[in-house]
């Protein structure tokens, strides 16, 4: 008898075997986090070479007033810190976009290839299948995001003009956000992809739907720049709480849709 855990791992293993065969997908799945990690580092590095003017300082008055870590910085430091805040916010797209690529091919791809029915005809429980598929998209997304975050933090420390610039970018709030929210964002994206799968037959179309999730992250970027939002531990905890509630809701919806009967009779 194959245990529940073994069946879940079997699905996980099969997903990885398939992914290994899809070089294009694998490359895009690796390229995206690399881009979202290196781009902010390039922005921060480049900011030290840009000419800074007093006018820029005046425009950033709101941001400096709200974010105390920026106060007392020189103009070049400030330039780097602002570039870093934008870059670190862009980095948070990683746990959103990466699982959307993996889950789209794992679930919508399976539906498009008509391989779901033979699996559903086997004695696997639907939650074992769902868990295996979700793990195959969430686990690598979380590991890659955290790995890139560590690389990003080291790179920022290396290219920052001073330790306080690095501390402003890699703030406790940002670390808390990455640690707490990455798994939740990956879970929400994967569950969302299951919901989308019930209506969509093409993995690329499914991915396009997931782009809606980028909008709240844009609020994070512009909120910080406008001085309306300072990403501290409290904000990160609040964000994690909100995401946890959203994750619970989206997962519940996904579980309702991911039933044998529903997949075979309602999915289009």
């Amino acid at each position: 008898m194959v245990s529940t855990m073994q069946k879940t791992l079997l699905i996980f293993q099969k997903e990885w075997l398939e992914l290994r065969q899809q070089r294009g997908l694998l490359l895009s799945a690796l390229f995206l986090p690399a881009l979202l990690t290196l781009l902010p580092v390039v922005m921060i590095t480049g900011a030290r070479f840009l000419p800074q003017q007093q006018q820029d300082l005046d425009e950033l008055g709101g941001l400096i007033a709200a974010n105390t870590t920026l106060q007392g910085m020189s103009l070049p430091e400030l330039g780097q810190a602002v570039a870093g805040l934008i870059g670190s916010s862009i980095f948070t797209l990683t746990p959103l976009l990466l699982p959307s690529i993996l889950a789209a091919y794992s679930i919508v791809g399976e539906k498009a290839n008509r391989t779901l029915e033979p699996i559903l005809a086997s004695p696997i429980k639907t939650w074992e299948l769902l868990l295996g598929k979700s793990l195959a998209s969430i686990a690598p997304s979380v590991v890659i995001t955290w790995g890139c975050a560590v690389f990003f933090a080291i790179a920022v420390r290396t290219v920052a003009l001073s330790p306080r610039v690095a501390q402003a970018i890699i703030s406790p709030g940002w670390v808390a956000l990455i640690v707490l929210c990455t798994p939740l964002m990956a879970l929400i994206t994967t569950a969302g992809m299951i919901i989308i799968s019930s209506r969509v037959n093409d993995p690329r179309t499914a991915q396009q739907y997931s782009a809606v999730g980028v909008l709240p992250l844009m609020l994070l970027v512009f909120g910080q720049l406008g001085g309306l939002l300072v990403l501290n531990v409290g904000v990160a905890l609040l964000a994690a709480l909100a995401l946890a509630l959203l994750a619970a809701l989206v997962t519940w919806l996904a579980v309702q849709l991911f039933q044998r009967e529903v997949i075979l009779t309602r999915w289009r």
């Binding site: 008898m1 194959v2 073994q6 069946k7 079997l10 099969k14 075997l17 398939e18 065969q21 899809q22 290839n113 008509r114 391989t115 779901l116 029915e117 033979p118 699996i119 559903l120 005809a121 086997s122 004695p123 696997i124 429980k125 044998r260 009967e261 075979l264 009779t265």
Partner: protein, 306 residues
Amino acid sequence: MHAIEIEQLTRVFDGRTAVENLSLQLAPGTVFGFLGPNGAGKTTTVRMLTALIAPTSGSATVAGHQLGREDTQIRAAVGVLTETPGMYDRLSARQNLVFFGRLYDLSAARAAQQTERYLRMLGLWERRDDIVGGFSKGMRQKLAIARALLHEPSIIFLDEPTAGLDPEAAKIVRDFVRELRAEGRTIFLTTHNLSEADELCDLIGVFRTRLLRLNTAAKLRAELFGQGTQVQLAEDATRWRELVAALPFAQGVSAQGHTLTVQLAAPDQQNPALIQALCAAGAPICYVEPLKYSLEDVYLQLIGDG
């Protein structure tokens, strides 16, 4: 105990009845041909019996397990060849089968052993490490059949097993079904290929939302068209029609060209008297043969009436 026992099984989708009061009992080892036009509810029936979707009402026992209460056990006990092969194109033939074998609770060693057995049996062993994406339709179908058998189920549901296959591949599949029958497995065969059903099935069910008729192919022919004899003459058959019609056992006579068709209740007993009467009157008989109706005639008659 029956392999499959269905009682008043019904499935309604949003007010539309797909399957209505289906009752059926299949003895172990039966090859059952489930025939019907597209949209008749055949796939819905198979999905219900394989515990993929629930019936709206009615009950069924499959391999001794109660539908709705022991669904996981039913899925573990039966093998299913779905309408489309549904194999993972990027995995090899062996990886596909081992994966499904493990899903059917086989140990890793047993899954590997069964994979080798069926790949060899279906002539795919040499291609075991090739990715399925490069396989022909026939090879994929054979692989899907192997998948349905890995866990050695006693009941197998085959949905259109030879659809779209070239004659050679179709023959291999049919021969394989015969082997499964010889092993005593119960086969629930859905097909549009009526000569295939005639050739392979012990029992035929003609279905369109409800079961229109259930019997052996021979009895269905007799029920619908009766039995009889065709006499081929060397001249116009019309002039011998009256003579035969006057025979007390002839239930109906028709003449067309040189052929005289006689409906008989018991041809085996009545043919000697029929031939004797024609010979005595000097009819130039070329040859005599039983009246033949194909399963297609039966099917079209029933579907037309239904």
